[in-house]
Symmetry: C2
Subunit: 288 residues, 2 copies
């Protein structure tokens, strides 16, 4: 298995970065997780756009342009063609080697890394039964604590929340935001259906502005499905007629249980959204 | 310049870690920043205690015991003896190489790294004039978003806040917590003197439980100085008779200005606290 590290294909097992890299020292890094099918990276443009925008917002260097990174993904997939026909590409950008402390000025030698990995195990079996989710003890930082238009390597909040899911024997953990509203799950966005309307927590909740979340919203608006980004309470999630999670890797994942509440899997709106996404991407992109 | 990497002295310039290390991928790491003077690491036990407690709380592996790490610090300082007679040791622990995603289970080969670096430039000149601080646009995550008894490599919030200080031409940036109270500065704790009482924001504010903060509190209680850990408002900071910042590297740093408010530098209580700390550590530890 190879990875792509600053322009070079390197065996993943031996690929290394400096201990002075600010990504290693301080999580001072951005990343993207994209699904691939064959030689195609799903929603590459959306991932690239978010990475580029976040880099500009946080004043990261951006050593490559989108064409170079698209070609790098293709080169990596070709080199690893024996590994998986479907899987995950992870892109990471750091500020590079810096000095000790919060000041990122003067960092040099940014790292751009692309790694390839397998899909989560038994994904389609889990999609068929739906996810069980529980509420985490951890809350999601607000957008004025950590920017949520950027996917950053400050990921400990997600790690801790996911451990709450594991401890409860659940598949995912729901995080409330600073105001007590529903924000998102540890590594997926949440949608629910309330009185026939597709609803997802608004950006002010602290939810990551996910690429699949954006795709679902854009598709729903295009198809004329009623949908809203707004504040959502945990009580409203309990009363919802159906719920699902989204991210770039699992696509649309039905929620079967939220604590004591059970939902039909998949609900009719969930089914409709998922079918529409598969139509956009091509059914073959999601057969694994 | 050498660093100590998992039991071996390695030239810092060439020391590397795997790109699969969760510290690099997700900021899934803990660190400590300690000051040294000659062959002595100030408050080593307090740093070690926090690191060990945080590792246990967050279920990190701990591949070495305190005696080994104390000896490693001594070995590193001896190897770098030509570099600095006073400076900073930074200890970092990661979960090691893991799989993609939030689940840290199955990570292996944890990294324990010790690096040495210089003191910040012109520290004593800056101490003589005192720091100017401004309020950051960024808020500090609450303790139920990121644990504040642990010093984690999820440091982006501090990076962003410090950039606000730089943009304002200030030395440090003050962060309010989730409730709007004063929490801390980007990489230092805050103390103020209100009606003759030494006050620092309580842990609920999200302030890191700093080693120098703990030392100041312990010393004040031992000397019978009135002191409180409690909620502090920005208005109260403006009305304070004096204020200072603490961390392991700068010790006690007087605040000269908070936005438009100017304080005497050093205030009498600040001077008393700083003298007591230097007495505990030995004056020579702080002559640079």
């Amino acid at each position: 298995m190879y990875c792509w590290l600053n322009g070079t294909l390197v065996p993943l097992a031996t690929a290394q970065v400096s201990v002075q890299d600010r990504g290693f020292m301080y999580g001072d890094a951005l990343f993207e997780t994209a699904r691939f099918a064959g030689d195609r990276v799903l929603r590459f443009d959306a991932h690239w756009q978010r990475l580029q925008t976040a880099a500009a917002q946080l004043r990261f260097p951006m050593p490559y342009d989108g064409q170079v990174i698209a070609a790098a993904c293709a080169e990596l997939l070709a080199a690893n063609v024996a590994a998986q026909s479907q899987g995950v590409l992870r892109l990471q950008l750091t500020r590079g080697r810096g000095t000790r402390g919060p000041n990122p000025a003067g960092a040099r030698d940014p790292v751009f890394l692309i790694t390839q990995s397998e899909l989560p195990p038994m994904l389609e079996a889990r999609r068929a039964r739906g996810y069980a989710i529980v509420t985490s003890r951890w809350q999601k930082p607000a957008p004025n604590m950590l920017p949520n238009a950027a996917k950053t390597a400050n990921y400990l909040n997600s790690v801790l929340a996911f451990e709450d899911a594991l401890a409860a024997g659940a598949d995912e953990a729901l995080l409330l935001g600073a105001t007590g509203e529903v924000a998102e799950c540890s590594h997926s966005n949440l949608f629910l259906v309330a009185k026939g309307v597709l609803v997802t927590p608004h950006a002010a909740s602290g939810a990551l502005l996910g690429t699949m979340r954006a795709q679902v919203l854009a598709m729903a608006r295009q198809l004329g499905m009623p949908c809203e980004e707004r504040a959502v309470s945990a009580a409203e999630l309990e009363q919802a007629s159906e719920a699902f999670l989204t991210n770039a890797v699992v696509g649309v994942m039905p929620v079967a249980r939220f604590t004591a509440r059970a939902y039909a899997v998949p609900g009719p709106m969930t089914q409709r959204v998922w079918s529409a996404i598969k139509e956009i991407d091509g059914e073959s992109a999601w057969v694994s």
